[in-house]
Structure formats: structure tokens, C-alpha cells
């Protein structure tokens, strides 16, 4: 990866990415969808956010350097620019490879008042991981997040595209069991859903 961000000449901006340096992995469908998404905006740059969601789906839930480079290449942007965007937003998994399922526990005001800390402590004990960590079998990632804006259902959690709440410890355990048996990664599924809702019916 590092050769992609080396400067072509001193004091110059990074060189444009070249196809021969990249291992492009987008599926045919992914490329078509990206083209449809690009058509929603007056320029390609505006498609960076949707493009990253698409890459998150295509690359199995993790935006590796290769994934970011592919988005940058397909949108004619520099690597550093796209990486900068990817690392700003909390829902892009650009820094750590997440587990198969990401459990996002809301610990913000209302959930805080309604016992989110107990739920969090329960998860920490049960899974043996803390905020931002992934279990050694790669099954779960735990994350403490800010308000999910479903405070009427506090304490609330998000897993993939779904909200759950109010959740108690027993329901949490049941959910973990269900997730363990789920074939598909809810992280990838979530990215797929985000891409899908941005496309019109005739564009899919």
C-alpha cells in the first residue's frame, strides 16, 4: 500500500492512482451501482461517501487501504483525500477490521439514565472485550456509541441495520446466540442496505 501514497516528486501532491498498481476488486454489479450513484450528483467527488459504503460491502465490511484506493481510483480522487473522509465518519470501518457482527451500545444521556452501563458491563464480562475491541474468534465487535435517537426505547443497541430496545441482559444474551448462528455478517449486510436505499428501483 505504502507505495501508493509516496510522493512522485518532492513537494508534489500524491500522484494519481494508476490501475496497474491496484488490485481492483469491485464486482461487476458494484461497478454498475457506483455508476448509478455517480449519476445522482453533479460531480464524482460527491460520490465519495456512497462509494465508501459500496466498498465496505465489497470488501467484507472493512475499508482496507486497497478498498480506499479503489474508491479513489474509480472516482478520480487522490488516496489521501478519500482516506481522510473514510476516517472522519464513525460508521466506516477504516481503522480496525471489525468482527462479523458489530454491537453498538448507546450509552448517551437517556440510555445512561436507563441502565446502559449495566448492559455494557454485562457485555464486557460476557464477551471479554471492551469498547472498540473484537473477540478473538472474530465474531463480535463491541462499540459504545452516542445517541441512536431512539431514546423512547432506552437502553437501545444497534446491530447491523436493526435497532433493539429496550434491551435487558437476558434479551442481550438471546440476541448474541441468534447472531452466533447467523450465517451472514450483519456488518456487510448493513453496508449493502445503505447502498441499496440510495439506488432507485430501476437502477438496481
Amino acid at each position: 500500500m505504502s507505495e501508493l501514497i509516496t510522493l512522485s516528486k518532492s513537494n508534489q501532491r500524491p500522484a494519481q492512482l494508476r490501475q496497474e498498481d491496484l488490485k481492483l476488486q469491485f464486482s461487476e454489479r458494484g461497478v454498475k451501482e457506483l455508476d448509478a450513484l455517480i449519476s445522482h450528483y453533479p460531480n464524482k467527488k460527491a460520490c465519495i461517501l456512497p462509494g465508501l459504503w459500496l466498498a465496505q460491502r465489497e470488501y467484507g465490511g472493512f475499508l482496507s487501504g486497497d478498498a480506499i484506493a479503489e474508491v479513489a481510483f474509480r472516482l478520480d480522487r487522490h488516496f489521501a483525500e478519500v482516506e481522510g473522509v473514510a476516517t472522519f465518519y464513525s460508521l466506516y470501518n477504516a481503522v480496525h477490521k471489525p468482527g462479523k457482527h458489530k454491537i453498538e451500545v448507546c450509552t448517551c444521556l437517556c440510555c445512561h439514565l436507563n441502565g446502559a452501563w449495566n448492559l455494557r458491563d454485562h457485555l464486557v464480562k460476557k464477551l471479554g472485550i471492551r469498547h472498540g475491541e473484537t473477540t478473538s474468534d472474530g465474531m463480535f465487535t463491541l462499540e459504545e456509541v452516542e445517541c441512536l435517537n431512539t431514546c423512547d426505547r432506552a437502553p437501545a443497541i444497534q446491530v447491523g441495520s436493526n435497532y433493539y430496545g429496550p434491551v435487558n441482559e437476558q434479551q442481550m444474551d438471546e440476541l448474541l446466540d441468534t447472531l452466533r448462528k447467523t450465517e451472514e455478517s450483519t456488518v456487510v449486510q448493513y453496508a449493502a442496505d445503505v447502498v441499496k436505499v440510495q439506488l432507485r428501483k430501476n437502477e438496481v
Binding site: Y89, Q198, R200
Partner: protein
């Protein structure tokens, strides 16, 4: 009638809080699943407003926004007319519309319900807007967590396109208007309108210069083109204004100084029936609490009436507060985004201030120093106090840091971080002093409130 009588009646009408129940305008059919489909929406009178609007003069629609007295529901409560009227009358370039559905203010979940259950209200409202200000494309910026809402809007958009209610030559009127969904990726700051535009243009969600350092969005907004940006609830009011007339709309909330129509409040915290309640402006805050089934787990202690960014008020103030933009100022708080949280007597205000400060520290975009450093500093001080290691003078220091952020940051997120902390210290100073002095809370918290990491 004697003069005395009429004076008494006059007084009764304006001063004494009178009883009002829920007033369901936007949420009237929110429990009806067919309302999410085009047929069901039309059966309830949907799209009559757009049909009517398309026969009206553009300027007449803009005037009715003014006459209706609609104010933005996104938080600041700015008159919507300023934006509608500010859009260029003569079209020289593309015009854009944006719907701000990046609801992230802790305590607020009204847009979520509107997106999930009444997507057509938003789409019809935006299309009316597209006609009135000659828009080409409308973007609905939805936070990525709101998948249910986004799916409902997607289905609604697809149905609208199929029925020629969007796209080319809408209903044979010659109007071309597209609506696209743009999903966020997890950032509260992207709710701020200029940051949202940065994010929509494919950048980090950082705010841009505002007037007077830069032109208003209606002159140069997203993609440097004239842009009309509103909250979901603001647009969703448009079908009612067009259909029922501006005068009718302005008669709602007429008891208040300058707030018209209805407002959806998301009630949560220690209440028996948390949820969204739509009331007319001018309703006493107390009644909102009663609608939500009253307080649970003890007596009422405090309330944050408009989302975490607005100052906290005491139980006494809850009794006299009237829901209205100016009226809430009398109890030194705001309507904000309508995220109304009630707290019972076991709530520790110091920990609440800590949690609120932590939210802003986590969500600060990092562009300007007062907010980036100040929010972190506030968290450090509050964390120290909550651990029992508070030092003498910490409360003073906290006040000082907060007031250095307030008014000195690049965007209102900094102010929003400072206000709740300053208000908590102003309203409950004894709790802070006690915590610093004794190293423990003055309130006997129920166990679920204790855990501080």
C-alpha cells in the same frame, strides 16, 4: 359585558395556562401502515396540495410560507420565509433542495417517526418546495443509522416516480424535479447545515464559513449553487399550509408570541410513556409530561426541554413553562429540536453534565480549537469530579472553560457543548460543590445511574 368582565376573560386567555390536548397534524395517520403507501396516502388527501400548488404562482407559495409564520424545526427556529424568499427569483443556474434528516441531537426522535411512517408528507412537501424555488434536485440526507426510515423513504420515492409525481414533467405541469437519498456515515456534526453540505459534497463533515463571512446557502450552498435546506418536520408542514391556507396554519399556536403551527416533541427519560407527542404551540410543558404518562421512579427534578444542547430547567420551571420559541426563553431555555427529557429526583446532575459533555467531546469535528480542546477539558474536569477526585476550584474552572467555548467556536456545536454544563452549574450549584467537597454525589442515585467508566 362589563369592562371588568372582559378584562378578566382577556387575562384568562393569555396568562393562565389553559388545557390543551395532543393536536395531531403531521402525526395524524402515523399509526396507519397504509399511510406509507401512495394509495393509502392519497386516500387520506395526499397530493392534493401538490396539485393545488402547481396551479399557483410560485411567489404565492413563498408568500404563504411567510403568512403561515412557519419556523424551521431543526433547532434554531429561524423563519422559513427568509430561506424561501431568499432563493433567486430568476434562475441562472441549478437550484438544490436539501432535507436535513441527520437527526442526532440526544433526546430527539421525531424525524425518525416522520421518515418511517409519513415519508410522503416529506416528499410532497419537498416537491412543493422544488416548484416554488425552481429546484432541480432535492437531496434527503439521512443518517445511516436510520435504516428503517431510509427504506420507507426509498419505497415512497419509487412509488412517486412510478406515478409521475417525481421526475420529468410532473403531472403534466412541465416541472422537472428529482429527489435522491444520500446516507450519512455517523457524525452528529453533519446535522449542522454547512457541515452537511460539506458531507454531501464528499468531504469530511466540517462546517464552512457562514454569513457575513460567506454568502447564505440560498445564494451559494451545496455545489456552490443556491440551496434551500430544511429539517424533515419543516418540509412536512408544507402540504398542510398549501391545502388549508396560511391563515388557518397561523391560527394554530396563536396564543404564543411568534410560534405557529404544531410541534412534535420526543419525550423520554424517566417518564411512563416515552414517545412522540405532537402539540400546538402554546401548550404548557407540564401537559406534555402528563401526555407522556407522568414521571416514574420518584418526583420530577429537572427537564431538558429541547434536546441535549439546550439548558436544563427545574421542576418549578416545568410548571410555568409554555412551549413556544420566545416563551421558553422566559425559563432560560429553548424549544430546540423538541427532544424533551424529564429526570426524576434520583438523577445526579453532575453525572448528567459529564455525559452531555462527553457527547460533545466525542462529536466535535476538530476544526476549531475552543471546541476541540475545550470539550475535552470539560470532560476531564467532570470525570475527575465524578471519580471523587475533584479539586477545590474545579467548578470555577469548569465555568471558565465553558464560557471560553461559548461564542468563540466556529460553529454552534461549541456553544451547544457549553450551555448544558453552564446551565447545570447555574441551576444546581450545590450538587457540584458537594461532589467536589465530599467526593461523592449528593443524590442517592438508583443503581443504574452509578456506573461511570
Amino acid at each position: 359585558m362589563s369592562r371588568l368582565d372582559s378584562a378578566v376573560i382577556g387575562l384568562g386567555r393569555s396568562k393562565l395556562p389553559f388545557s390543551m390536548a395532543e393536536y395531531k397534524l403531521l402525526l395524524e395517520h402515523s399509526k396507519d401502515p397504509t399511510f406509507r403507501t401512495l394509495d393509502g396516502y392519497k386516500a387520506k388527501g395526499g397530493y392534493t396540495a401538490l396539485t393545488k400548488a402547481l396551479t399557483m404562482e410560485r411567489s404565492a407559495i413563498v408568500d404563504s410560507v411567510k403568512a403561515a409564520g412557519l419556523r424551521g424545526r431543526g433547532g434554531a427556529g429561524a423563519p422559513a420565509f427568509l430561506k424561501w424568499g431568499g432563493m433567486p427569483k430568476e434562475k441562472k443556474t441549478n437550484h438544490y433542495l436539501i432535507c436535513n434528516a441527520d437527526e442526532g441531537e440526544p433526546g430527539t426522535f421525531k424525524d425518525k417517526e416522520l421518515l418511517e411512517n409519513c415519508p410522503f408528507l416529506l416528499i410532497e412537501g419537498m416537491t412543493i418546495g422544488g416548484f416554488a424555488v425552481q429546484g432541480d434536485v432535492g437531496y434527503i440526507y439521512i443518517r445511516a443509522e436510520y435504516m428503517d426510515g431510509a427504506k420507507a423513504v426509498r419505497n415512497a420515492l419509487d412509488e412517486a416516480y412510478a406515478a409521475n409525481l417525481l421526475g420529468k414533467d410532473i403531472l403534466g405541469s412541465g416541472l422537472n424535479f428529482d429527489i435522491e437519498i444520500h446516507m450519512g456515515a455517523g457524525s452528529y456534526e453533519c446535522g449542522e447545515e454547512t457541515a452537511l453540505m460539506s458531507s454531501l459534497m464528499g468531504e469530511r463533515g466540517m462546517p464552512r464559513l457562514k454569513f457575513p463571512s460567506a454568502p447564505f446557502p440560498v445564494v451559494s450552498g451545496v455545489f456552490e449553487k443556491p440551496t434551500l435546506i430544511h429539517n424533515v418536520e419543516s418540509y412536512s408542514n408544507m402540504p398542510f399550509i398549501v391545502n388549508n391556507g396560511a391563515e388557518w396554519f397561523a391560527s394554530l399556536g396563536a396564543s404564543t408570541k411568534n410560534s405557529r403551527g404544531t410541534k412534535i416533541f420526543s419525550v423520554s427519560g424517566h417518564v411512563n410513556k416515552p414517545g412522540n407527542y405532537e402539540v400546538e404551540f402554546g401548550t404548557p410543558l407540564r401537559e406534555l409530561l402528563e401526555l407522556a404518562g407522568g414521571i416514574r421512579g420518584g418526583k420530577l427534578k429537572a427537564c431538558i426541554p429541547g434536546g441535549s444542547s439546550v439548558p436544563v430547567i427545574t421542576a418549578e420551571d416545568v410548571d410555568r413553562a409554555i412551549l413556544g420559541y420566545e416563551e421558553m426563553g422566559e425559563v432560560k431555555s429553548m424549544v430546540g429540536s423538541g427532544g424533551c427529557m424529564f429526570f426524576n429526583e434520583h438523577t445526579d446532575m453532575v453525572k448528567l453534565a459529564w455525559r452531555s459533555a462527553l457527547f460533545y467531546a466525542n462529536e466535535s469535528c476538530g476544526k476549531c480549537t475552543p471546541c476541540r480542546e475545550g470539550t475535552r477539558w470539560m470532560v476531564q474536569i467532570l470525570e475527575r469530579i465524578c471519580r471523587g477526585d475533584g479539586r477545590p476550584g474545579d467548578v470555577e474552572l469548569l465555568k471558565q472553560v465553558a464560557s471560553q467555548i461559548d461564542g468563540r467556536s466556529f460553529c454552534p456545536l461549541g456553544d451547544a457543548a457549553a450551555w448544558p454544563v453552564l446551565a447545570a452549574i447555574r441551576v444546581f450549584p450545590q450538587e457540584f460543590e458537594y461532589f467536589v467537597e465530599h467526593g461523592k454525589s449528593m443524590v442517592d442515585s438508583i443503581p443504574s445511574l452509578i456506573g461511570v467508566p
